[in-house]
């Protein structure tokens, strides 16, 4: 069906501009930008002057299939993503068991395709069982559709194993995603060290664990020439090394989770376990430095790091509680905080949310151009609401933004030219 989206504020991350205009969606792609009138028979949607941007491509979503479907299924994650303006979920392999064989990848790909209203692409483990000992069948997994390779929060400590896996991945042109947090220093830590951690008596990890491991990883990237992405860069001290690596021409990008951009270590307050994420939230100086790095483009990608945890995993003393927060539906409103505070404009924001992740993974999404997939999000950046976590579509409701005032509502989401969320598909969150 042809859709004519009129009277929209078009956010174009590629050109870095926003302007008023109309779009025609046809055959699953954006058929015409800046259309002057609706084609015959088209469904006309009046955007009411609200923002229309390329749908979010979210690297690092955890879905509980296989192993923890009670926490999140492809269906529930897909519905949450649609309501959050996420049109492509890049799913993590830290499942139970880990996604490390082409057979398993084929199985979850089939399940995902039939269950989710938004696009799902899979990452595969870099080492078997994410155990850091033997590399996975990177070639077969690539053929089966893996878009990147990562052991998620398991850091490969044996540098010989890692260097061989990176070398092999390089020969196939595969993208490897690292989690630069020194595992020894991080062991047992629940928060970032500092005055607050000491006051609360919680075991902390120095933020230095990040640049320490980043330096090691960047040396291996230089040695092997692999395409590499750091999943989360969360502190100021990591930025010079990242800048140097990019200046030296290494094929390196970096991401950060929305939580590290919008929350700091003090938010943990009175042992609120919904604020326990990995790596732990940093102090305000680090948060601001990282926001600045996203604005300047040094950090390329913002992701949700959506990690569903059931109530039982979080209703525990802070040290014992599980890490992670759901964020598919809160990613966009939380990101609007950066826009509302004047740190980042909307084209810059969607460069980090949509364009850069798509480009990094070699996907055609993320652009507002003729011929690009018609994956779009229509949202009102100023609409205020108070978040009630029980309205979230995820099976798990562990969001740190519960009860908080937020601005930015998704009005409609389109995937491949089909509306998957909006007034007709259910009320906006």
């Amino acid at each position: 069906m042809t859709i004519y989206l009129e009277n929209a504020r078009l956010i174009d991350p590629e050109a870095g501009t926003e302007r008023h205009g109309n779009l025609i969606l046809d055959g699953g792609v954006i058929a015409l930008v800046d259309a002057l009138s609706a084609p015959k028979g088209a469904r006309i949607i009046d955007c009411g002057g609200k923002c229309l941007a390329p749908g979010i491509v979210d690297i690092g979503v955890k879905v509980g299939e296989p192993g923890e479907r009670h926490k999140e299924s492809f269906r529930s994650a897909g519905l949450a993503a649609a309501a959050g303006g996420v049109t492509t979920m890049i799913v993590r392999p830290d499942t139970t068991p880990a996604l490390d064989t082409p057979e398993m990848l084929e199985f979850v790909t089939r399940r995902a395709a039939s269950a989710s209203p938004v696009r799902i692409r899979h990452m595969a483990a870099l080492t078997k069982g994410r155990a850091g000992r033997e590399m996975t069948e990177i070639g077969f997994l690539l053929d089966a559709g893996a878009v990147a390779f990562t052991d998620c929060d398991h850091v490969v400590t044996d540098t010989k194993v890692l260097s061989r896996a990176l070398t092999y991945a390089r020969s196939l042109g595969a993208l490897v995603i690292g989690h630069p947090q020194d595992p020894g220093l991080s062991a047992g830590a629940a928060v970032t060290t500092g005055k607050f951690a000491s006051l609360r008596g919680l075991p902390g990890v120095s933020p230095m664990a990040e640049p320490m491991c980043l330096d090691r990883d960047l040396a291996l990237v230089e040695m092997t020439g692999v395409r590499w992405h750091a999943d989360q860069i969360t502190c100021a001290r990591s930025l010079p090394a990242l800048e140097r690596a990019k200046a030296n021409g290494l094929d390196v990008t970096a991401g950060v989770s929305i939580h590290h951009l919008t929350l700091n270590d003090l938010d943990v307050g009175d042992y609120r376990t919904f604020f326990k994420v990995k790596p732990p939230l940093r102090d305000e100086q680090d948060r601001l430095a990282v926001v600045e790095a996203v604005a300047s483009g040094l950090i390329d990608i913002i992701s949700s790091m959506h990690t569903p945890q059931d109530e039982e995993s979080k209703r525990l003393p802070y040290e014992d509680a599980a890490s992670g927060a759901v964020a598919l539906q809160t990613l966009l409103p939380a990101a609007m905080r950066l826009y509302q505070s004047g740190h980042i404009d909307l084209p810059q924001l969607f460069r980090a949310l949509s364009l850069n992740p798509a480009k990094r993974l070699g996907l055609p999404q993320g652009r507002l151009a003729e011929g690009a997939p018609a994956d779009l999000v229509l949202f009102d950046p100023d609409a205020p609401f108070v978040l009630d976590r029980f309205t979230l579509r995820s099976k798990s409701k562990n969001t740190p933004f519960d009860g908080q005032r937020m601005e930015g509502k998704v009005l409609a989401t389109f995937v491949g030219g089909q509306q998957v969320f909006g007034p007709d598909q259910g009320e906006a969150a």
Binding site: T193, G194, K195, F196, A197, S198, L199, R200, G201, L202, P203, G204, S206, D270, Y271, E312, R315, L316, P317, Y318, E319, D320
Partner: protein, 320 residues
């Protein structure tokens, strides 16, 4: 009198005035405890449950005695070998006990913040008897009472806290209390046992006993746990005693009338020399134990008053 809190979870939330109220009342209980007839009926008819998820003899018996002298029905639950072993969560345990309508829950737990979590799920008064590395408020209050009785005041004193600060809830609670009462606090210990960012609490940090103890009015030693002595945090027990153990030579740097404290149980020859611990002119370690019962009586008495007042208001509310 001013004491408004519903629970006693830490020193952090107490105002200086509330601390003074507790100490004043505790003074009265010290007198009572020295009589032959030690009972009052402040908690008559009330039920106190001691839930100790970590083993403790001293603190638990101190709380038990305090409750009994106030006339409460006291029950001890040693959680280390009960339902926790069967996989019950902390919150379920709390809800189970809550259904038995206790009035006071005294809780010790190995995880920081566990007592706060539990307090949010029950409708009685909760006393923190130590949670992880977070707080141990009655210990800080009994230390304050001991200092006040020995020195005549609990302000403008120089207090040195020595030893394993990083793993000590006693140190944290004392640090906060002494700061609130406007004392000069020094922390002395090897840097591996010093928590990060601690200098921002407004205290002075030393890794040398001679410098840290100079002109101190009060020397507070902390227990060094056996599991920290194996080379992970300090090289060996004997090197620790040589550098940080309190002996006559190191104590000579403090004021001539400085008192020596220890929350117990002591490791003689590790953090404190036996002769110092037994010196009746310097050591107030036995007084600390005595003050412990009185302070716990005062805390429970005050919490019970607030609990009765709250229930009274609730009852009035339903009648209207």
């Amino acid at each position: 009198m001013s004491f408004r809190a519903r629970h006693l979870l830490g020193i952090e939330h107490l105002a200086p005035d509330e601390i003074r109220t507790i100490l004043d009342l505790a003074d009265q209980y010290v007198d009572l405890n020295r009589r032959t007839i030690k009972r009052t009926d402040a908690l008559a008819g009330m039920t106190q449950i001691n839930m100790f998820f970590e083993n403790s003899t001293r603190t638990q018996s101190s709380f038990e005695l305090a409750g009994k002298r106030l006339g409460a029905d006291v029950m001890n639950m040693t959680m280390a070998q009960s339902s926790v072993k069967k996989g019950e969560t902390l919150i379920d345990t709390a809800l189970t006990l809550n259904a038995m309508h206790p009035d006071l829950l005294v809780v010790r737990h190995g995880a920081s913040g566990a007592v706060n979590l539990l307090a949010s799920k029950v409708n009685c008064a909760v006393l923190n008897a130590g949670d992880g590395r977070h707080e141990h408020p009655t210990q800080a209050l009994l230390d304050a009472l001991t200092i006040r009785r020995a020195k005549g005041r609990i302000h403008r004193l120089t207090v040195a806290i020595c030893g394993d600060i990083a793993h000590s809830r006693v140190a944290r609670s004392n640090l906060i209390l002494l700061g609130k009462m406007e004392n000069r606090v020094r922390l002395i210990g090897p840097p591996t046992l010093m928590p990060a960012g601690v200098a921002e609490f407004g205290c002075e940090v030393y890794d040398d006993m001679a410098a840290g103890l100079k002109d101190a009015d009060v020397v507070m030693m902390l227990r060094l746990q056996k599991e920290r002595m194996d080379g992970g945090f300090i090289p060996s027990e004997r090197e620790y005693f040589h550098r940080f153990g309190l002996d006559a030579e190191k104590l000579a740097h403090a004021k001539p009338d400085a008192i020596v404290m220890h929350p117990g149980p002591m490791n003689r020859g590790v953090e404190i020399d036996g002769t110092i611990a037994d010196d009746i002119n310097r050591s107030v370690i036995q007084e600390q134990v005595e003050m412990g019962v009185a302070v716990r009586m005062a805390c429970m008495d005050l919490l019970a008053r607030n609990l009765r007042a709250e229930r009274g208001r609730a009852a009035l509310g339903t009648m209207v």
